[in-house]
Symmetry: C2
Subunit: 587 residues, 2 copies
C-alpha cells in the first residue's frame, strides 16, 4: 500500500501524481470500511479525499494552518497526519474522534462540530500570525452548505479585509445535509455553469480574489490551483466542485441519506420497513394532518430534516407549508416568530444542541414579541455524544428567557395534547422538549388545559419524599420511588412537572405539610436548570432538596452508564442519598 | 404647519411634492428639538425623513407592512402614523418608545431594538401572507451597518427565494454606529460610485432584483423608485443612499458622535473636558499600556466602540492592534477565540445585552476550546432601559457554560488585578463584568492569585447572617449589613464572591457553624444566576438562603427605584426579610 509510506504530510511530497491517485483510492476504501463499521459521516469524507491530498501536498502543515468547518470531513486529513491506524486497524477505530481534536496533535487547531465557524476562526489565526509578524498560510475549508450560516457570512465579510494571506477553500458539492436553500446557491450554480467566470460573484462582491476548480476530485487540477494561491498576500476564495460520496455509487446517488450513516448501512439487505410508533412518527402524523386542515400551518427547520424523520416524501407532502432555512438557525427562529405573529401556525423543529445558535432571536424576535410559535426541541438529554454535540444545555438556555413556556411531556397522550394546544393558542411562545426515550402510551386521553401555566401533576400520592421527574426522567422517578419504598418502607410522592419554565407554588407549598425532602430529576444540565429553580423556591424554608442532572462540563463520548453513575442518576444511588439526607448524615 | 393635516399616512396621499418637502423640514425640526431634549437616536432619524415620507406616500400601511431594522430610525414613521404628539408636545415626549412598539398601534409589527433582524422578520410576514393567500407589500428597511450581522445575512439569503413580493430597502448612509468594517462595504461603495450599475453586486449575487437611488433624500426620486417595486412579484432590493444626520450640519459632520445623543448636546458650549477616573478610563489606560508593551495584545469589539469610550483617537493609537468587526458579534467571538488560541492576547469588549447574540460561539468556539480570551462585559445590571436593551441576562448566559470563568470585581484595584491576570494567563476563557457603578478605589494593591478559582473573600467577619454581595451589589451588601446590625444588634458577615462561575465550597461549608442565613445579591436575573447556585449548594443542609436579583421579565423603561422596590433591593427591605426568616415567620 502507498499509505504504508505516509506517516506525516511530509511523506506526500515525494509521491508522483499516479501514486497520489492510488493513495486516494486506498484512503477511500479505508473510510468506506471504517464508517460502515462504526457509523459516522460518509459522503462528506469521500468527497474530499483528493482535495485533502492536494492540500497537504501543496501546503506545509502544521506550519501552514487548516481550519475545517464542522470538521465532519476531516477523516482523510486524520489519515494523512499520523492517525491512519484509526482507520487501518479495526481495534483502533474508536481511538480518534470524528472531528478535529487538538488533543490528537498539532495538525488540528480547534475542537469543532457545529457548522459555519471555520472562516471566523481562521481569520483569528491569520490575525494572530500578522500580529506576531510570522509567515505562513492560513486556510479555512468550508462546504457550500455551511456558507449560509450567520457566523460564516459574518466571517467572510470580515476575513475579506484582513489585508494579508487568507485562503478560503469553498468545497461545493451542491448539497447541504439535505438539499441547499437560499439565493446564494443560485449564484454557486451560476459560477459552476460559467466555469467561475460570471461577473456577478458572491465571493468577489465581498472583496475576495477568486479561483475556480471545475473538478475538485482531480488532484492535478487542485494542486495547480492551490499552488497559485499558496503564499498569496491577500484574501482569496478557491471554489472547488466536488462529488459528495465520491467513489461509492449508492452514496453518490443518495447524498442526503449517506451524509451520515449507521453501522452496517452498506451491508443491509433492504427489507420492507416495519413501522414502529415513536415520538417522531406521531409528531409527523400530527403535522401532516394539521397541514391538510389548515393552510396556515407550516413546518420549519434549519437543514436537519433527517433528525425529525422529515424525509423527502414527507417534505413533498407539505409543499409550500414547509420551509428548510438551510443552515441558518437565527433566520429560522425570527422567520418562524414573524409567521406566528402574522397569524400563521409555525411548527419549528430544532435539535437541542443547535438551539444554542439562536439565543438572541429566541429572546428578542420571539419571546419579547410573545409570538405564539410552537418550537419542538429534539434529542434533549444526557448522552454519549461528542463534546460538540451535547444536548444538555437547552433547559437553562430556554428556561430563563422571559415569556417562554417550555414543556416536558412524559407520554404520547400528554405530548399530543401539549402540541395541539400549542399550535392553536395565541398567547405564548411555546417550546416542547420532544421525549428522547422510547414511546410510552397511557391509552388515556390527556384533558389538561395547558393554558393554565405551571400546574404540576401528582401521579402518585405519598409521603416524606416527593420526586419531581421531569420529561425523559419521569420513568426514573417511578423507579426511584419504588426503590425507596422497598428499602425504607414508605411510598414517596411522584410528580410529573410538565412545565419547565415555572414553579407550581401551590403544590410546592402544600408538600411542606407531610414531606421533608424534594428530589428533582432532569435530563440535562443542573446549572441554571429546573432543579435549581425548585431549590431556590424552598431556599428559606425547612424543606430539603436534592437536584439531579448533569454537571457543568463538556463530556466527550462517555457512555451513558458512566455518566449516570457519576451524576447518581440511578434508583439505588438516589435511595442512598435520600437515606443520607433523611438520616441527617448531611448538613 | 403641513403636519397639522397629517393624522395618518392616508393624509399624505393628497400632498404635492412641495408640500412633502415642506413636511420633511417640519419633521426634521421636531426631531432635532425633541431628541436634543430627551436624548435618543439622532443621525439615523434625520437621515430618513424623506424616505419615510416617500414610503408612506407610495405604500399603504398598515395594509402594506414595514419592518424597521433596529427601529432606532422610526421617529419619522411614528410622526406620520398617529403619534406626532410625542414630538410636537414636550409633555408627551416620553409617551412613545424610541423603537417600534406594537402596543402603540397597528403600524408597528414588532418590538425590536437589536440589529439585523428586519429581513428575517419581514420574510416571515411575507410567508404568512402567502400562506393566507393575501396580497400586500412587505417591506424590510435595513441600514448598511446592520447588513453585516449574521441574522441579516441569513435572512437575505432566505428572503431571496420566497418567490413572491418581498421588498428590502437598504438605507446606505455609509456608516454603522462607528465606521463600517467588512468586504461588503467595498461593494456598497462600488455600487454608489457606479450608480448601481456594477455587475458584481452583492444583492444580485444573492438573487435579488435591484434598484438604485442615488439621492435617498430626494422625495421625488424615492417615490419613483418605490412605485417601480410596489406590488412586485419577487424579491427586490432598493438601495437608497442617504445622508446620516441630514439637515443638522454638526451631525452630518460627526456621524458617529451624533448617532445617539444625550439631552442638551446641541446646546452645550464646548468646554475643556474634565478628566474623571472611571472603570472605562482605567480599562482604556490599561489597554494602551499593554498594547505598547506587547504586540500580540489586541482590542476587539463589534460596532459599539462608543460604549467603552473607544473614541477615534483611542482607536488610532491601537492601530493594527484593534479590530472592529462591525455588527457581527458571532464573528467577533470566534475571531477573538482563535487569536487567543494562536498565542495572541485579545481583549474583547461587549455590551451585556449583545452577549446574547453569540451564545453558540461562546460555548463552542471559545469555551470548548478553552481559549485564554479576556472578555469584558459592559453595562451588566438592572436598569431603566428599554425592553430591548436589558442587561440582566449575561450572568445566566455566561455562568452556565462549562470552562468559562466569569469574574465580578468590586473596586479598581481588584478589577485591574483580574484584568492583568486574565490577559496574561493561558488556561481559561475569562469574562469580567466591568462594574457598572461609580468607581471605588481602596488604594490597596490586590495581591490575589485569581488562578486559584472560586475563592470568595470575607471582607467583614460576622455571625448569624452572611451576605454575598456580587460585583455591582457589593456596596448594597455593606449597607444591608449595617442596617441589620443597627436593627437587630449583631453584625452579619459580608463576602465579596468575585467569582460568578463557581461556589467556594470550603467557605460556604464553614459558614454553617455560626450562620443560619445566607443572602445573595446580584445585579441581574435571578433565574439561572449566581444566587440559585448558592441555594442549590445549600439545598439539603439546614442553611437558609434568600436570593435577590431581578425577576424573569422584560421590563420596559421602568425606573430603577420602581425596580429596586419590586425586587426588594434596598437595605431596609432586606432587613425586613431577614427578620421574617430568622424569626421563622416564613417556612
Amino acid at each position: 500500500m502507498i499509505l504504508d509510506k505516509i506517516n506525516s504530510p511530509k511523506d506526500l511530497k515525494t509521491l508522483s501524481l499516479d501514486e497520489m491517485n492510488g493513495l486516494a483510492g486506498e484512503i477511500r476504501e479505508l473510510i468506506i470500511k471504517k464508517v460502515n463499521t462504526t457509523g459516522g459521516h460518509f459522503g462528506p469524507n469521500l468527497g474530499i479525499v483528493e482535495a485533502t491530498i492536494a492540500m497537504h501536498y501543496v501546503f506545509n502543515a502544521p506550519t501552514d494552518k487548516f481550519v475545517f468547518d464542522v470538521s465532519h470531513q476531516c477523516y482523510p486529513h486524520k489519515i494523512l497526519t499520523g492517525r491512519k491506524e484509526g482507520f487501518t486497524n479495526p481495534e483502533k477505530y474508536h481511538t480518534y474522534t470524528g472531528y478535529t481534536a487538538p488533543e490528537e496533535g498539532e495538525y488540528d487547531l480547534f475542537k469543532v462540530g457545529h457548522t459555519s465557524t471555520s472562516v471566523s476562526l481562521a481569520s483569528g489565526v491569520a490575525k494572530a500570525r500578522d500580529l506576531k509578524e510570522e509567515h505562513y498560510n492560513v486556510i479555512a475549508f468550508i462546504g457550500d452548505g455551511s456558507l449560509s450560516g450567520g457566523e460564516a457570512l459574518e466571517g467572510l465579510d470580515n476575513g475579506a479585509v484582513l489585508g494579508s494571506n487568507f485562503i478560503v477553500i469553498v468545497n461545493d458539492n451542491d448539497q447541504s445535509i439535505a438539499e441547499n436553500h437560499g439565493g446564494l446557491y443560485d449564484n454557486l450554480k451560476l459560477l459552476r455553469e460559467t466555469g467561475g467566470s460570471a461577473e456577478c460573484n458572491f465571493f468577489k462582491s465581498l472583496g475576495y480574489d477568486y479561483y475556480f476548480v471545475k473538478d475538485g476530485n482531480n488532484i492535478s487540477d487542485l494542486i495547480e490551483a492551490f499552488n497559485k494561491v499558496k503564499d498569496i498576500d491577500h484574501p482569496v476564495v478557491v471554489h472547488i466542485c466536488t462529488q459528495k460520496g465520491k467513489g461509492c455509487k449508492i452514496a453518490e446517488d443518495n447524498r442526503e441519506a449517506f451524509h451520515w450513516i449507521l453501522p452496517g448501512t452498506l451491508d443491509e439487505n433492504k427489507t420492507e420497513q416495519v413501522f414502529e410508533e415513536s415520538y417522531n412518527s406521531i409528531t409527523n402524523d400530527y403535522i401532516l394532518k394539521k397541514v391538510k386542515e389548515d393552510k396556515t400551518v407550516i413546518a420549519i427547520n434549519a437543514a436537519t430534516p433527517g433528525v425529525f424523520g422529515w424525509d423527502k416524501s414527507f417534505r413533498d407532502k407539505l409543499g409550500k407549508q414547509y420551509t428548510d432555512a438551510g443552515i441558518a438557525e437565527e433566520h429560522a427562529c425570527a422567520y418562524a416568530s414573524a409567521l406566528a405573529k402574522s397569524g400563521a401556525k409555525p411548527i419549528w423543529a430544532v435539535m437541542s444542541s443547535f438551539v444554542q445558535r439562536t439565543y438572541d432571536q429566541l429572546s428578542q424576535d420571539l419571546a419579547l414579541n410573545k409570538s405564539p410559535l410552537t418550537m419542538l426541541v429534539y434529542w434533549g438529554g444526557i448522552s454519549g455524544a461528542d463534546a460538540t454535540h451535547l444536548c444538555t444545555f437547552d433547559i437553562p438556555l430556554i428556561k430563563n428567557i422571559p415569556n417562554m413556556v417550555y414543556l416536558a411531556p412524559t407520554n404520547k397522550e400528554e405530548y399530543m395534547k401539549m402540541l395541539d394546544w400549542s399550535v392553536n393558542q395565541k398567547d405564548y411562545p411555546v417550546a416542547i422538549r420532544v421525549p428522547n426515550v422510547e414511546l410510552v402510551s397511557t391509552g388515556i386521553e390527556d384533558k389538561t388545559d395547558y393554558s393554565v401555566l405551571n400546574k404540576y401533576k401528582v401521579t402518585q400520592e405519598g409521603e416524606r419524599v416527593a420526586i419531581l421527574g421531569l420529561g425523559n426522567f419521569y420513568g426514573l422517578a417511578l423507579k426511584a420511588a419504588e426503590e425507596i419504598k422497598n428499602r425504607f418502607g414508605f411510598m414517596p410522592t411522584v410528580i410529573n412537572p410538565r412545565f419547565i419554565t415555572g414553579v407550581d407554588t401551590d403544590l410546592m407549598n402544600k408538600l411542606k405539610s407531610n414531606h421533608k425532602l424534594v428530589i428533582t430529576l432532569e435530563d440535562g444540565l443542573l446549572d441554571g436548570g429546573f432543579g435549581e429553580m425548585i431549590s431556590a423556591f424552598y431556599s428559606y424554608s425547612d424543606m430539603k432538596v436534592i437536584n439531579y442532572g448533569s454537571y457543568k462540563e463538556f463530556t466527550d463520548r462517555d457512555s451513558l452508564d458512566v455518566l449516570y453513575n457519576k451524576y447518581r442518576l440511578k434508583p439505588e444511588l438516589i435511595a442512598d442519598d435520600v437515606e443520607n439526607v433523611l438520616m441527617a448524615k448531611v448538613h
